[in-house]
Protein backbone atom coordinates (compact mmCIF):
# COMPACT_ATOMS: atom_id res chain seq x y z
CA UNK A 1 0.00 0.00 0.00
CA UNK A 2 1.52 3.25 -1.05
CA UNK A 3 -0.17 6.35 0.18
CA UNK A 4 1.79 9.59 0.13
CA UNK A 5 3.02 10.45 3.62
CA UNK A 6 4.34 13.92 2.87
CA UNK A 7 2.79 16.46 0.54
CA UNK A 8 5.37 18.06 -1.69
CA UNK A 9 3.80 19.96 -4.57
CA UNK A 10 0.50 20.62 -2.80
CA UNK A 11 2.07 21.29 0.60
CA UNK A 12 1.00 24.92 0.81
CA UNK A 13 -2.08 24.97 -1.39
CA UNK A 14 -4.43 25.50 1.53
CA UNK A 15 -2.26 27.99 3.43
CA UNK A 16 -3.67 31.51 3.73
CA UNK A 17 -2.39 34.01 1.18
CA UNK A 18 -0.29 31.40 -0.57
CA UNK A 19 -1.11 32.88 -3.99
CA UNK A 20 0.35 36.25 -2.95
CA UNK A 21 4.02 37.15 -2.69
CA UNK A 22 3.72 37.97 1.01
CA UNK A 23 2.18 34.59 1.79
CA UNK A 24 4.69 32.76 -0.35
CA UNK A 25 7.66 34.53 1.21
CA UNK A 26 6.33 33.94 4.71
CA UNK A 27 6.92 30.24 4.13
CA UNK A 28 10.43 30.71 2.81
CA UNK A 29 9.50 31.49 -0.77
CA UNK A 30 12.28 32.63 -3.11
CA UNK A 31 14.80 31.41 -0.53
CA UNK A 32 15.95 28.64 -2.82
CA UNK A 33 16.36 30.99 -5.76
CA UNK A 34 18.48 33.26 -3.59
CA UNK A 35 20.63 30.36 -2.46
CA UNK A 36 21.04 29.03 -5.99
CA UNK A 37 22.06 32.47 -7.30
CA UNK A 38 24.50 33.02 -4.43
CA UNK A 39 26.17 29.65 -4.25
CA UNK A 40 25.79 27.72 -7.50
CA UNK A 41 27.05 27.92 -11.05
CA UNK A 42 24.45 27.37 -13.81
CA UNK A 43 25.99 24.02 -14.78
CA UNK A 44 25.71 22.80 -11.18
CA UNK A 45 22.00 23.62 -11.23
CA UNK A 46 21.50 21.46 -14.32
CA UNK A 47 23.50 18.65 -12.71
CA UNK A 48 21.26 18.74 -9.64
CA UNK A 49 18.15 18.57 -11.81
CA UNK A 50 19.61 15.57 -13.65
CA UNK A 51 20.39 13.88 -10.35
CA UNK A 52 16.85 14.46 -9.07
CA UNK A 53 15.30 12.29 -11.82
CA UNK A 54 12.77 15.03 -12.51
CA UNK A 55 10.78 14.11 -15.60
CA UNK A 56 8.41 16.16 -17.72
CA UNK A 57 4.88 16.22 -16.32
CA UNK A 58 3.28 17.37 -19.55
CA UNK A 59 2.88 13.87 -20.90
CA UNK A 60 6.10 12.52 -22.34
CA UNK A 61 7.97 12.04 -19.06
CA UNK A 62 11.24 13.11 -20.67
CA UNK A 63 14.12 13.69 -18.19
CA UNK A 64 14.19 17.44 -17.56
CA UNK A 65 17.91 17.85 -16.89
CA UNK A 66 18.74 15.95 -20.05
CA UNK A 67 16.41 18.20 -22.05
CA UNK A 68 18.21 21.24 -20.68
CA UNK A 69 21.58 19.81 -21.61
CA UNK A 70 20.60 19.76 -25.32
CA UNK A 71 20.83 23.56 -25.38
CA UNK A 72 24.13 24.35 -27.10
CA UNK A 73 26.78 26.24 -25.15
CA UNK A 74 27.14 29.98 -25.64
CA UNK A 75 30.48 29.40 -27.32
CA UNK A 76 28.80 27.29 -29.99
CA UNK A 77 25.63 29.33 -30.33
CA UNK A 78 25.59 32.97 -29.33
CA UNK A 79 21.88 33.57 -29.89
CA UNK A 80 19.64 34.46 -26.97
CA UNK A 81 17.99 31.48 -25.33
CA UNK A 82 14.46 31.22 -24.06
CA UNK A 83 12.40 29.27 -21.59
CA UNK A 84 8.79 28.61 -22.60
CA UNK A 85 6.39 27.27 -20.01
CA UNK A 86 3.63 25.05 -21.28
CA UNK A 87 0.55 26.02 -19.26
CA UNK A 88 -1.78 25.06 -22.11
CA UNK A 89 -3.27 22.23 -20.07
CA UNK A 90 -5.84 20.71 -22.38
CA UNK A 91 -5.40 16.95 -22.60
CA UNK A 92 -8.89 15.66 -21.76
CA UNK A 93 -8.97 14.32 -18.22
CA UNK A 94 -6.18 16.59 -16.98
CA UNK A 95 -6.69 19.36 -14.42
CA UNK A 96 -3.58 19.97 -12.35
CA UNK A 97 -1.50 22.83 -13.75
CA UNK A 98 -4.42 25.21 -13.38
CA UNK A 99 -4.36 24.59 -9.63
CA UNK A 100 -0.66 25.42 -9.38
CA UNK A 101 -1.44 28.72 -11.11
CA UNK A 102 -4.44 29.34 -8.86
CA UNK A 103 -3.03 28.26 -5.51
CA UNK A 104 0.74 28.62 -5.71
CA UNK A 105 1.80 30.77 -8.68
CA UNK A 106 5.03 31.95 -7.06
CA UNK A 107 6.20 28.34 -6.78
CA UNK A 108 6.13 28.26 -10.59
CA UNK A 109 7.79 31.68 -10.84
CA UNK A 110 10.61 30.71 -8.47
CA UNK A 111 11.12 27.56 -10.51
CA UNK A 112 11.20 29.62 -13.70
CA UNK A 113 13.91 31.88 -12.30
CA UNK A 114 16.02 28.89 -11.24
CA UNK A 115 15.61 27.29 -14.67
CA UNK A 116 16.40 30.50 -16.55
CA UNK A 117 19.56 30.97 -14.50
CA UNK A 118 20.65 27.42 -15.33
CA UNK A 119 19.88 27.88 -19.02
CA UNK A 120 21.23 31.40 -19.39
CA UNK A 121 17.78 32.50 -20.56
CA UNK A 122 16.88 36.13 -19.97
CA UNK A 123 13.27 35.86 -21.08
CA UNK A 124 10.56 33.37 -20.26
CA UNK A 125 7.15 33.18 -21.90
CA UNK A 126 4.41 31.36 -20.05
CA UNK A 127 1.87 30.11 -22.59
CA UNK A 128 -1.36 29.71 -20.65
CA UNK A 129 -4.50 28.15 -21.91
CA UNK A 130 -6.89 30.75 -23.32
CA UNK A 131 -9.79 29.38 -21.28
CA UNK A 132 -7.87 29.93 -18.02
CA UNK A 133 -9.23 33.40 -17.33
CA UNK A 134 -9.07 33.11 -13.56
CA UNK A 135 -5.80 31.15 -13.22
CA UNK A 136 -4.18 33.61 -15.64
CA UNK A 137 -5.37 36.57 -13.63
CA UNK A 138 -3.79 35.11 -10.49
CA UNK A 139 -0.55 34.49 -12.37
CA UNK A 140 -0.53 38.02 -13.82
CA UNK A 141 -0.79 39.43 -10.30
CA UNK A 142 2.02 37.21 -9.10
CA UNK A 143 4.29 38.27 -11.98
CA UNK A 144 3.58 41.94 -11.25
CA UNK A 145 4.38 41.36 -7.56
CA UNK A 146 7.68 39.71 -8.45
CA UNK A 147 8.68 42.69 -10.61
CA UNK A 148 7.61 45.20 -7.98
CA UNK A 149 9.64 43.37 -5.36
CA UNK A 150 12.79 43.45 -7.49
CA UNK A 151 12.86 39.71 -8.05
CA UNK A 152 12.40 39.90 -11.83
CA UNK A 153 13.72 42.65 -14.06
CA UNK A 154 17.18 44.04 -14.82
CA UNK A 155 18.72 42.25 -11.87
CA UNK A 156 17.34 38.91 -10.80
CA UNK A 157 17.14 39.28 -7.01
CA UNK A 158 19.97 41.78 -7.18
CA UNK A 159 22.27 39.53 -9.20
CA UNK A 160 23.72 40.77 -12.46
CA UNK A 161 21.33 38.65 -14.52
CA UNK A 162 18.36 40.15 -16.34
CA UNK A 163 15.17 38.13 -16.34
CA UNK A 164 11.83 39.07 -17.85
CA UNK A 165 8.78 36.86 -17.51
CA UNK A 166 5.71 37.30 -19.68
CA UNK A 167 2.42 35.51 -19.77
CA UNK A 168 0.72 34.90 -23.11
CA UNK A 169 -2.78 33.48 -23.21
CA UNK A 170 -3.72 31.05 -25.94
CA UNK A 171 -7.10 31.22 -27.61
CA UNK A 172 -8.62 27.75 -27.70
CA UNK A 173 -6.48 25.32 -29.68
CA UNK A 174 -5.47 22.01 -28.12
CA UNK A 175 -2.66 21.65 -30.63
CA UNK A 176 -0.80 24.53 -29.00
CA UNK A 177 0.06 22.22 -26.12
CA UNK A 178 2.38 20.45 -28.57
CA UNK A 179 5.71 22.14 -27.97
CA UNK A 180 6.49 23.28 -31.50
CA UNK A 181 2.90 24.43 -32.10
CA UNK A 182 3.22 26.35 -28.85
CA UNK A 183 6.32 28.08 -30.21
CA UNK A 184 4.52 28.92 -33.45
CA UNK A 185 1.66 30.39 -31.44
CA UNK A 186 4.10 32.37 -29.28
CA UNK A 187 5.49 33.77 -32.53
CA UNK A 188 2.01 35.03 -33.36
CA UNK A 189 1.00 32.35 -35.83
CA UNK A 190 -1.59 29.61 -36.08
CA UNK A 191 -0.53 26.53 -34.16
CA UNK A 192 0.96 24.28 -36.81
CA UNK A 193 3.57 21.92 -35.39
CA UNK A 194 7.07 22.02 -36.84
CA UNK A 195 9.06 19.15 -38.21
CA UNK A 196 11.69 17.84 -35.81
CA UNK A 197 14.67 17.93 -36.00
CA UNK A 198 15.77 20.59 -35.44
CA UNK A 199 14.55 20.32 -31.86
CA UNK A 200 13.53 23.45 -29.96
CA UNK A 201 16.61 23.19 -27.73
CA UNK A 202 18.62 24.17 -30.82
CA UNK A 203 16.10 26.04 -33.01
CA UNK A 204 13.09 27.14 -30.98
CA UNK A 205 11.44 30.48 -30.35
CA UNK A 206 12.50 33.14 -32.90
CA UNK A 207 15.02 30.63 -34.22
CA UNK A 208 16.87 30.58 -30.89
CA UNK A 209 17.63 27.74 -28.46
CA UNK A 210 14.51 27.20 -26.36
CA UNK A 211 13.48 24.83 -23.62
CA UNK A 212 9.76 24.06 -23.30
CA UNK A 213 8.74 22.69 -19.90
CA UNK A 214 5.41 21.95 -18.24
CA UNK A 215 4.13 23.95 -15.25
CA UNK A 216 4.27 21.07 -12.75
CA UNK A 217 7.79 20.18 -13.87
CA UNK A 218 9.19 23.66 -13.26
CA UNK A 219 7.19 24.14 -10.05
CA UNK A 220 9.08 21.15 -8.62
CA UNK A 221 12.44 22.97 -8.80
CA UNK A 222 12.18 24.99 -5.56
CA UNK A 223 11.45 21.74 -3.69
CA UNK A 224 14.41 19.98 -5.30
CA UNK A 225 16.76 22.71 -4.16
CA UNK A 226 15.16 22.93 -0.73
CA UNK A 227 15.58 19.30 0.15
CA UNK A 228 18.16 18.07 -2.30
CA UNK A 229 18.22 16.15 -5.53
CA UNK A 230 18.87 12.85 -3.77
CA UNK A 231 15.83 13.30 -1.56
CA UNK A 232 13.68 14.07 -4.59
CA UNK A 233 14.98 11.07 -6.53
CA UNK A 234 14.40 8.75 -3.55
CA UNK A 235 10.91 10.12 -3.04
CA UNK A 236 10.03 8.76 -6.44
CA UNK A 237 10.19 5.26 -7.85
CA UNK A 238 12.56 3.71 -10.37
CA UNK A 239 13.78 6.49 -12.69
CA UNK A 240 10.93 8.90 -11.90
CA UNK A 241 11.74 11.41 -9.18
CA UNK A 242 9.31 13.22 -6.90
CA UNK A 243 5.58 12.88 -6.59
CA UNK A 244 2.85 13.32 -9.19
CA UNK A 245 -0.28 15.35 -9.49
CA UNK A 246 -3.06 13.27 -10.98
CA UNK A 247 -6.62 14.11 -11.86
CA UNK A 248 -9.17 11.43 -11.15
CA UNK A 249 -12.46 11.71 -13.00
CA UNK A 250 -15.42 9.66 -14.16
CA UNK A 251 -17.36 7.01 -12.25
CA UNK A 252 -15.69 7.33 -8.83
CA UNK A 253 -17.18 8.56 -5.58
CA UNK A 254 -14.62 11.26 -5.01
CA UNK A 255 -13.19 12.69 -8.24
CA UNK A 256 -10.54 15.37 -7.91
CA UNK A 257 -6.91 16.36 -8.24
CA UNK A 258 -4.56 14.46 -5.93
CA UNK A 259 -0.87 14.36 -5.20
CA UNK A 260 0.31 10.76 -5.16
CA UNK A 261 3.51 8.83 -4.73
CA UNK A 262 5.11 7.48 -7.90
CA UNK A 263 4.56 3.93 -6.66
CA UNK A 264 0.87 4.44 -5.94
CA UNK A 265 -1.08 2.13 -8.22
CA UNK A 266 -4.08 3.04 -10.31
CA UNK A 267 -6.13 0.68 -8.15
CA UNK A 268 -5.10 2.54 -5.00
CA UNK A 269 -5.87 5.88 -6.59
CA UNK A 270 -9.35 4.70 -7.54
CA UNK A 271 -10.23 2.86 -4.32
CA UNK A 272 -8.20 4.31 -1.44
CA UNK A 273 -10.11 6.45 1.04
CA UNK A 274 -7.51 9.21 0.65
CA UNK A 275 -8.31 9.45 -3.05
CA UNK A 276 -11.19 8.21 -5.18
CA UNK A 277 -12.97 6.07 -2.54
CA UNK A 278 -14.06 3.57 -5.12
CA UNK A 279 -17.23 3.25 -7.13
CA UNK A 280 -20.85 3.33 -5.94
CA UNK A 281 -22.28 0.15 -4.41
CA UNK A 282 -22.84 -2.53 -7.01
CA UNK A 283 -20.66 -0.97 -9.68
CA UNK A 284 -17.31 -2.23 -10.87
CA UNK A 285 -14.51 -0.88 -13.05
CA UNK A 286 -14.84 -1.65 -16.73
CA UNK A 287 -12.15 0.54 -18.25
CA UNK A 288 -9.61 3.14 -17.17
CA UNK A 289 -7.80 5.71 -19.29
CA UNK A 290 -4.62 6.26 -17.28
CA UNK A 291 -2.90 9.38 -18.61
CA UNK A 292 -5.20 11.75 -20.46
CA UNK A 293 -7.54 10.64 -23.21
CA UNK A 294 -4.75 9.88 -25.69
CA UNK A 295 -3.32 7.16 -23.42
CA UNK A 296 -4.37 3.66 -24.53
CA UNK A 297 -7.20 2.33 -22.37
CA UNK A 298 -6.69 -0.33 -19.69
CA UNK A 299 -9.09 -3.05 -18.59
CA UNK A 300 -10.09 -3.74 -14.99
CA UNK A 301 -7.40 -6.44 -14.85
CA UNK A 302 -4.62 -3.99 -15.65
CA UNK A 303 -5.04 -1.40 -12.91
CA UNK A 304 -2.41 -2.67 -10.49
CA UNK A 305 0.12 -0.69 -12.49
CA UNK A 306 2.03 1.99 -10.62
CA UNK A 307 1.76 5.62 -11.68
CA UNK A 308 5.50 5.92 -12.29
CA UNK A 309 6.38 6.85 -15.90
CA UNK A 310 8.04 3.63 -17.09
CA UNK A 311 5.56 1.23 -15.46
CA UNK A 312 3.03 1.62 -18.27
CA UNK A 313 5.33 0.44 -21.04
CA UNK A 314 4.61 -3.29 -20.69
CA UNK A 315 0.89 -2.45 -20.94
CA UNK A 316 1.48 -0.46 -24.14
CA UNK A 317 -0.01 2.59 -22.49
CA UNK A 318 1.40 5.67 -20.81
CA UNK A 319 1.34 7.71 -17.62
CA UNK A 320 0.95 10.78 -19.81
CA UNK A 321 -0.41 13.89 -18.18
CA UNK A 322 -1.89 12.12 -15.16
CA UNK A 323 -5.52 12.33 -16.26
CA UNK A 324 -7.16 9.15 -14.98
CA UNK A 325 -10.67 8.57 -16.32
CA UNK A 326 -12.68 5.71 -14.83
CA UNK A 327 -15.59 4.07 -16.64
CA UNK A 328 -17.84 1.73 -14.68
CA UNK A 329 -19.50 -1.48 -15.86
CA UNK A 330 -22.61 0.39 -17.05
CA UNK A 331 -20.66 2.78 -19.28
CA UNK A 332 -20.81 2.34 -23.05
CA UNK A 333 -17.26 2.08 -24.37
CA UNK A 334 -18.34 2.86 -27.94
CA UNK A 335 -19.89 6.13 -26.91
CA UNK A 336 -16.91 6.91 -24.68
CA UNK A 337 -14.51 6.32 -27.54
CA UNK A 338 -16.71 8.39 -29.86
CA UNK A 339 -16.37 11.33 -27.46
CA UNK A 340 -12.60 10.89 -27.41
CA UNK A 341 -12.34 10.53 -31.20
CA UNK A 342 -14.53 13.56 -31.76
CA UNK A 343 -12.12 15.63 -29.72
CA UNK A 344 -9.09 14.72 -31.82
CA UNK A 345 -11.09 15.25 -35.01
CA UNK A 346 -12.08 18.70 -33.81
CA UNK A 347 -8.56 19.61 -32.69
CA UNK A 348 -6.54 18.22 -35.60
CA UNK A 349 -4.72 21.26 -36.97
CA UNK A 350 -5.24 20.12 -40.56
CA UNK A 351 -1.61 20.03 -41.56
CA UNK A 352 -1.14 16.26 -42.18
CA UNK A 353 -3.57 14.27 -44.31
CA UNK A 354 -3.76 11.05 -42.22
CA UNK A 355 -4.80 13.01 -39.13
CA UNK A 356 -6.96 15.67 -40.80
CA UNK A 357 -8.98 13.09 -42.76
CA UNK A 358 -8.58 10.07 -40.50
CA UNK A 359 -9.77 11.48 -37.18
CA UNK A 360 -13.16 12.68 -38.54
CA UNK A 361 -13.52 9.40 -40.45
CA UNK A 362 -13.04 7.36 -37.29
CA UNK A 363 -15.48 9.64 -35.47
CA UNK A 364 -18.17 9.07 -38.13
CA UNK A 365 -17.71 5.29 -38.01
CA UNK A 366 -17.97 5.28 -34.21
CA UNK A 367 -21.14 7.35 -34.30
CA UNK A 368 -22.58 4.98 -36.87
CA UNK A 369 -21.83 1.95 -34.67
CA UNK A 370 -23.18 3.66 -31.55
CA UNK A 371 -26.42 4.49 -33.35
CA UNK A 372 -26.90 0.90 -34.49
CA UNK A 373 -26.09 1.45 -38.16
CA UNK A 374 -22.75 -0.30 -38.06
CA UNK A 375 -21.50 -3.35 -39.93
CA UNK A 376 -18.79 -5.74 -38.86
CA UNK A 377 -16.55 -4.52 -41.68
CA UNK A 378 -16.61 -1.07 -40.06
CA UNK A 379 -14.36 -2.38 -37.32
CA UNK A 380 -11.73 -3.32 -39.89
CA UNK A 381 -12.04 0.08 -41.54
CA UNK A 382 -11.70 1.74 -38.15
CA UNK A 383 -8.50 -0.15 -37.40
CA UNK A 384 -7.11 0.47 -40.89
CA UNK A 385 -7.68 4.19 -40.65
CA UNK A 386 -6.07 4.28 -37.20
CA UNK A 387 -3.15 2.23 -38.46
CA UNK A 388 -2.63 4.72 -41.30
CA UNK A 389 -2.25 7.50 -38.73
CA UNK A 390 -0.04 5.66 -36.25
CA UNK A 391 1.06 2.04 -36.06
CA UNK A 392 0.01 -0.30 -33.28
CA UNK A 393 1.69 -1.36 -31.07
CA UNK A 394 2.80 2.20 -30.39
CA UNK A 395 6.44 2.92 -31.20
CA UNK A 396 6.25 6.61 -30.43
CA UNK A 397 6.39 7.78 -34.04
CA UNK A 398 3.31 7.86 -36.19
CA UNK A 399 2.85 9.03 -39.78
CA UNK A 400 2.20 12.65 -38.91
CA UNK A 401 4.36 15.64 -38.02
CA UNK A 402 3.27 15.67 -34.40
CA UNK A 403 1.86 13.29 -31.82
CA UNK A 404 -1.75 14.49 -32.16
CA UNK A 405 -2.13 11.86 -34.85
CA UNK A 406 -1.03 9.14 -32.45
CA UNK A 407 -3.13 10.68 -29.70
CA UNK A 408 -6.26 10.06 -31.74
CA UNK A 409 -5.28 6.68 -33.16
CA UNK A 410 -4.07 4.94 -29.99
CA UNK A 411 -7.40 5.20 -28.11
CA UNK A 412 -9.24 3.71 -31.09
CA UNK A 413 -6.78 0.85 -31.46
CA UNK A 414 -6.75 0.03 -27.76
CA UNK A 415 -10.51 0.31 -27.21
CA UNK A 416 -11.38 -1.85 -30.21
CA UNK A 417 -8.84 -4.52 -29.30
CA UNK A 418 -9.73 -4.71 -25.63
CA UNK A 419 -13.50 -4.33 -25.91
CA UNK A 420 -14.16 -5.79 -29.33
CA UNK A 421 -17.16 -7.82 -28.14
CA UNK A 422 -18.97 -4.67 -27.05
CA UNK A 423 -18.43 -3.06 -30.44
CA UNK A 424 -19.74 -6.25 -32.09
CA UNK A 425 -22.73 -6.28 -29.78
CA UNK A 426 -23.68 -2.78 -30.95
CA UNK A 427 -23.51 -4.00 -34.52
CA UNK A 428 -25.42 -7.27 -34.12
CA UNK A 429 -28.20 -5.85 -31.95
CA UNK A 430 -28.29 -2.68 -34.05
CA UNK A 431 -28.06 -0.28 -31.17
CA UNK A 432 -26.41 0.61 -27.90
CA UNK A 433 -27.00 -2.01 -25.18
CA UNK A 434 -27.24 0.83 -22.64
CA UNK A 435 -29.97 2.62 -24.55
CA UNK A 436 -30.55 6.10 -23.21
CA UNK A 437 -28.19 5.61 -20.27
CA UNK A 438 -24.70 5.08 -21.66
CA UNK A 439 -22.72 7.02 -19.05
CA UNK A 440 -22.63 4.85 -15.94
CA UNK A 441 -23.33 5.68 -12.32
CA UNK A 442 -23.07 9.47 -12.53
CA UNK A 443 -24.20 10.01 -16.11
CA UNK A 444 -27.56 11.64 -15.35
CA UNK A 445 -27.63 15.43 -15.13
CA UNK A 446 -29.33 16.25 -11.86
Amino acid sequence: MSVLTEKVMTRDWDKPGQNTLAGYKQRGGYGQLKRVLDTMQPAQVTDEVKKSNLRGRGGAGFPTGLKWSFVPSLEKNTKPRYLAINADESEPGTAKDRFILEYDPHLLLEGIAIACYALGAHACYIYARGEFKYPSSVLDKAIAEAYADGIFGKKLMGKDFELNVYQVRGAGAYICGEETALLESLEGKKGWPRLKPPFPAVVGLFGCPTVVNNVETIAALPRIFEKGADWFAKLGAAKSGGTRLVTLSGSVLRPGTYEVAMDTSLRELIFDKAYGQGLPEGRSVKAVIPGGSSAPVLTADEIDVKLEFDAFKPLQSMAGSGGVIVMDDQTCVVRSLWRVARFYAEESCGQCTPCREGQPWMTRILRKIEEGRGELSDLDTLMNVAQAIAPWPPIGLGNTICALGDAGALPVQSFVQKFRSEFEEHITRKGCPYGEKPWGAFGEFQ
Binding site: E89, G130, R169, G250
Partner: protein, 162 residues
Protein backbone atom coordinates in the same frame (compact mmCIF):
# COMPACT_ATOMS: atom_id res chain seq x y z
CA UNK B 1 -19.08 58.80 -42.52
CA UNK B 2 -18.90 55.50 -40.70
CA UNK B 3 -18.76 55.49 -36.92
CA UNK B 4 -15.21 55.48 -35.58
CA UNK B 5 -13.96 52.12 -34.34
CA UNK B 6 -13.14 53.31 -30.83
CA UNK B 7 -14.35 55.95 -28.44
CA UNK B 8 -11.47 58.18 -27.26
CA UNK B 9 -11.25 56.17 -24.03
CA UNK B 10 -11.16 52.89 -25.92
CA UNK B 11 -8.53 54.24 -28.28
CA UNK B 12 -6.35 55.23 -25.34
CA UNK B 13 -6.74 51.80 -23.76
CA UNK B 14 -5.90 50.07 -27.04
CA UNK B 15 -2.86 52.26 -27.68
CA UNK B 16 -1.48 51.82 -24.19
CA UNK B 17 -1.97 48.08 -24.07
CA UNK B 18 -0.47 47.52 -27.52
CA UNK B 19 2.52 49.71 -26.66
CA UNK B 20 3.12 47.74 -23.46
CA UNK B 21 2.70 44.45 -25.34
CA UNK B 22 5.31 45.35 -27.92
CA UNK B 23 7.94 45.73 -25.20
CA UNK B 24 7.62 41.96 -24.61
CA UNK B 25 9.14 41.02 -27.97
CA UNK B 26 12.35 41.65 -29.87
CA UNK B 27 11.95 44.81 -32.01
CA UNK B 28 12.03 42.82 -35.25
CA UNK B 29 9.37 40.38 -34.00
CA UNK B 30 6.39 42.65 -33.43
CA UNK B 31 3.96 40.27 -35.12
CA UNK B 32 4.68 37.71 -32.38
CA UNK B 33 2.24 39.73 -30.29
CA UNK B 34 -0.66 38.63 -32.50
CA UNK B 35 -2.65 36.56 -29.99
CA UNK B 36 -2.43 39.10 -27.16
CA UNK B 37 -3.17 41.94 -29.60
CA UNK B 38 -6.29 40.24 -30.91
CA UNK B 39 -7.36 39.62 -27.33
CA UNK B 40 -6.90 43.31 -26.53
CA UNK B 41 -9.10 44.26 -29.48
CA UNK B 42 -11.72 41.64 -28.68
CA UNK B 43 -11.87 42.61 -25.00
CA UNK B 44 -12.62 46.20 -25.98
CA UNK B 45 -15.04 45.56 -28.84
CA UNK B 46 -16.57 42.19 -27.93
CA UNK B 47 -15.41 40.80 -31.28
CA UNK B 48 -12.85 41.44 -34.00
CA UNK B 49 -14.29 44.03 -36.41
CA UNK B 50 -12.49 44.44 -39.77
CA UNK B 51 -11.42 48.00 -39.00
CA UNK B 52 -9.80 46.75 -35.81
CA UNK B 53 -7.99 44.01 -37.68
CA UNK B 54 -6.45 46.64 -39.95
CA UNK B 55 -5.25 48.54 -36.93
CA UNK B 56 -3.73 45.41 -35.34
CA UNK B 57 -1.93 44.64 -38.61
CA UNK B 58 -0.51 48.16 -38.73
CA UNK B 59 0.72 48.16 -35.16
CA UNK B 60 2.25 44.71 -35.44
CA UNK B 61 3.79 45.56 -38.80
CA UNK B 62 2.12 42.66 -40.53
CA UNK B 63 -0.75 42.04 -42.95
CA UNK B 64 -4.50 41.85 -42.46
CA UNK B 65 -4.61 38.30 -43.91
CA UNK B 66 -2.12 37.25 -41.23
CA UNK B 67 -4.51 38.61 -38.58
CA UNK B 68 -7.41 36.64 -40.07
CA UNK B 69 -5.33 33.50 -40.53
CA UNK B 70 -4.61 33.51 -36.81
CA UNK B 71 -8.03 34.73 -35.66
CA UNK B 72 -9.87 31.99 -37.54
CA UNK B 73 -7.57 29.23 -36.30
CA UNK B 74 -8.42 29.78 -32.63
CA UNK B 75 -11.99 29.19 -31.46
CA UNK B 76 -11.94 31.87 -28.79
CA UNK B 77 -11.55 34.63 -31.37
CA UNK B 78 -14.75 35.95 -32.89
CA UNK B 79 -14.56 37.36 -36.39
CA UNK B 80 -18.36 37.62 -36.26
CA UNK B 81 -20.38 39.15 -33.45
CA UNK B 82 -20.87 36.24 -31.06
CA UNK B 83 -23.93 37.35 -29.08
CA UNK B 84 -23.87 38.95 -25.67
CA UNK B 85 -23.05 35.75 -23.81
CA UNK B 86 -20.85 33.01 -25.20
CA UNK B 87 -21.66 29.79 -23.35
CA UNK B 88 -19.17 26.94 -23.81
CA UNK B 89 -20.39 23.61 -22.45
CA UNK B 90 -17.79 20.87 -22.07
CA UNK B 91 -19.03 17.53 -23.41
CA UNK B 92 -15.76 15.66 -23.35
CA UNK B 93 -15.44 12.25 -21.72
CA UNK B 94 -14.83 13.23 -18.08
CA UNK B 95 -17.76 15.64 -18.13
CA UNK B 96 -19.97 13.21 -20.10
CA UNK B 97 -19.45 10.65 -17.33
CA UNK B 98 -20.87 13.25 -14.91
CA UNK B 99 -23.94 14.24 -16.91
CA UNK B 100 -22.66 16.68 -19.54
CA UNK B 101 -24.91 15.37 -22.33
CA UNK B 102 -27.90 16.03 -20.08
CA UNK B 103 -26.48 19.43 -19.16
CA UNK B 104 -26.24 20.39 -22.82
CA UNK B 105 -29.81 19.23 -23.47
CA UNK B 106 -30.96 21.18 -20.43
CA UNK B 107 -29.21 24.31 -21.74
CA UNK B 108 -30.72 23.88 -25.19
CA UNK B 109 -34.15 23.65 -23.59
CA UNK B 110 -33.63 26.64 -21.32
CA UNK B 111 -32.25 28.90 -24.04
CA UNK B 112 -34.49 27.58 -26.81
CA UNK B 113 -31.61 27.11 -29.23
CA UNK B 114 -29.43 24.21 -30.27
CA UNK B 115 -25.72 24.00 -29.67
CA UNK B 116 -23.71 25.77 -32.35
CA UNK B 117 -26.32 28.47 -32.98
CA UNK B 118 -26.19 32.13 -32.05
CA UNK B 119 -28.83 34.72 -31.25
CA UNK B 120 -28.28 38.32 -30.19
CA UNK B 121 -28.13 37.21 -26.61
CA UNK B 122 -26.49 33.78 -26.63
CA UNK B 123 -23.90 31.86 -28.55
CA UNK B 124 -24.28 28.32 -27.20
CA UNK B 125 -21.66 25.81 -28.19
CA UNK B 126 -20.12 22.52 -27.21
CA UNK B 127 -16.51 22.91 -26.27
CA UNK B 128 -13.63 20.65 -25.41
CA UNK B 129 -12.12 19.76 -22.06
CA UNK B 130 -11.89 22.82 -19.78
CA UNK B 131 -9.72 21.21 -17.08
CA UNK B 132 -12.61 20.64 -14.70
CA UNK B 133 -12.41 16.87 -14.98
CA UNK B 134 -12.46 16.33 -11.22
CA UNK B 135 -15.18 18.97 -10.77
CA UNK B 136 -17.42 18.04 -13.70
CA UNK B 137 -19.71 18.97 -15.34
CA UNK B 138 -18.72 22.50 -16.26
CA UNK B 139 -19.26 25.39 -18.60
CA UNK B 140 -17.94 28.87 -19.20
CA UNK B 141 -19.97 32.03 -19.70
CA UNK B 142 -17.86 34.69 -21.41
CA UNK B 143 -14.81 32.83 -20.09
CA UNK B 144 -16.04 32.82 -16.50
CA UNK B 145 -15.75 29.29 -15.25
CA UNK B 146 -18.49 27.32 -13.46
CA UNK B 147 -18.07 23.73 -12.26
CA UNK B 148 -19.89 20.95 -10.37
CA UNK B 149 -23.01 22.11 -12.21
CA UNK B 150 -26.53 21.00 -11.27
CA UNK B 151 -29.90 22.09 -12.60
CA UNK B 152 -30.35 24.44 -9.65
CA UNK B 153 -26.95 25.96 -10.12
CA UNK B 154 -27.50 26.45 -13.86
CA UNK B 155 -30.85 28.13 -13.19
CA UNK B 156 -29.24 30.56 -10.78
CA UNK B 157 -26.41 31.39 -13.21
CA UNK B 158 -28.79 31.95 -16.13
CA UNK B 159 -31.06 34.19 -14.07
CA UNK B 160 -28.20 36.64 -13.72
CA UNK B 161 -27.60 36.88 -17.45
CA UNK B 162 -29.82 39.79 -18.36
Amino acid sequence: MADPLFTPAEQKRFDEQIAELLTHYPPDRKSAGMLPALRILQTIKGWLPPEGMKLVAERLETTVPHCYEVATFYVMFHTEKPGKYVIDVCTNLSCALRGAEGLLKYMEGKLGQTAGTRTEKYFLRETECLASCGTAPCFQVNEDHYENLTKDKVDRILEKLT
